[in-house]
């Protein structure tokens, strides 16, 4: 299958240029990752077979949509004498471009995001404020370390004592055994001295 633009030749020229531009990897090559789009399509149309070229198309439509919203929001922003595109600008852009039906849900998500961020900040400060100040926590930690070191030392000492005892027992056993031998081996020793 060959794809062409069904318009005049100058438009075709632009189409080819666009294709060449994107293959050289400039900014306009940016798209939402295919996997994310595939996932969304699957969730929206479960059990539907979606052609590969259709998926590719959706990816590009996303980029186009984002540009559309950004440009419109940017224009609205410029008119309002502000330098940064605000949520208000985006909402107005959606409205004027015919996507007003998205507004309620989009606003809800914003609220949700803010709440989540707030909760996370609270949670981290809650941890700090368990009622125990940091120095106290540090002190407790040092105590635990010291205790652990002590236990280790005691353990090592016990082992050493056990080894010593075992060695002593072995020596004694060896001594009593050789004591019995000594009576009969003094001859050997004399012989050894001569050599």
């Amino acid at each position: 299958m060959v794809y062409f633009v069904q318009r005049n030749s100058s438009r075709l020229f632009l189409f080819f240029c666009a294709t060449m531009a994107s293959s050289s990897g400039n900014d306009d090559d940016l798209t939402i990752p295919r996997a994310a789009i595939n996932k969304m399509i699957k969730e929206t149309l479960p059990n539907v077979r979606v052609a590969n070229d259709a998926r590719e198309l959706v990816v590009n439509c996303c980029t186009e949509f984002i540009h559309l919203i950004s440009s419109e929001a940017n224009e609205i922003c410029n008119k309002s004498d502000k330098k940064t595109i605000s949520p208000e600008h985006v909402i107005n852009a959606l409205e004027s471009l015919g996507f007003g039906s998205y507004i309620t849900e989009v606003k809800d998500v914003l609220q949700e995001c803010k709440t989540v961020a707030l909760k996370r900040r609270k949670a981290s400060s809650r941890l700090e404020n368990l009622g125990i100040p940091e120095e106290e926590l540090l002190r407790q930690q040092q105590e635990l370390f010291a205790k652990a070191r002590q236990q280790q030392a005691e353990l090592a000492q016990q082992e050493w004592l056990q080894m010593q005892q075992a060695a002593q027992q072995a020596q004694m056993a060896a001594a009593s055994a050789s004591g019995a031998q000594q009576a009969g081996s003094s001859q050997d020793e004399d012989e050894e001295d001569d050599m």
């Binding site: 069904q6 030749s9 939402i32 186009e64 984002i66 605000s86 949520p87 989009v106 998500v109």
Partner: protein, 119 residues
């Protein structure tokens, strides 16, 4: 998608309403628009969510109006058709060339050349 904003990790709490598209990527695309300078973080969230809704909207519309309903499939031409028929999706027609066979294209190219030769 390690580039995701940490907010997205909280999909387990109040799941449905959080965002699944990568916010940082959306920001990059917005910034590649001519003239766009700075974007408020909240505005970025809004745009990302709107893009998600757009994908769902486009997919559903195309499927419902398309020829694939009986066979439970969605094709390129379903999307192209919806873009042409739905006004809010008109902006997509530029990137949705209708596919035509090469021989038909060559024919129309010949015709155009003949027309130009007449001048």
């Amino acid at each position: 998608m390690s580039q995701n904003n940490p907010d997205q990790e909280d999909q387990t709490s109040g799941a449905k309403k959080t965002i699944s598209l990568p916010i940082s990527r959306v920001r990059l695309i917005m910034k590649s628009s001519p003239d766009v300078s700075s974007i408020n973080q909240d505005a970025l969230f809004l745009t990302t969510k709107a893009t998600e809704l757009f994908v769902q909207h486009l997919a559903l519309s195309s499927f419902n109006n398309g020829s694939g309903k009986e066979t439970n499939s969605l094709s390129y031409s379903d999307l192209a058709k919806t873009a042409e028929e739905t006004e809010t999706f008109h902006f997509l027609t530029d990137i949705l060339p209708k596919k035509i066979l090469a021989r038909d294209y060559l024919k129309s190219l010949e015709q155009m050349q003949e027309e130009e030769a007449d001048f």
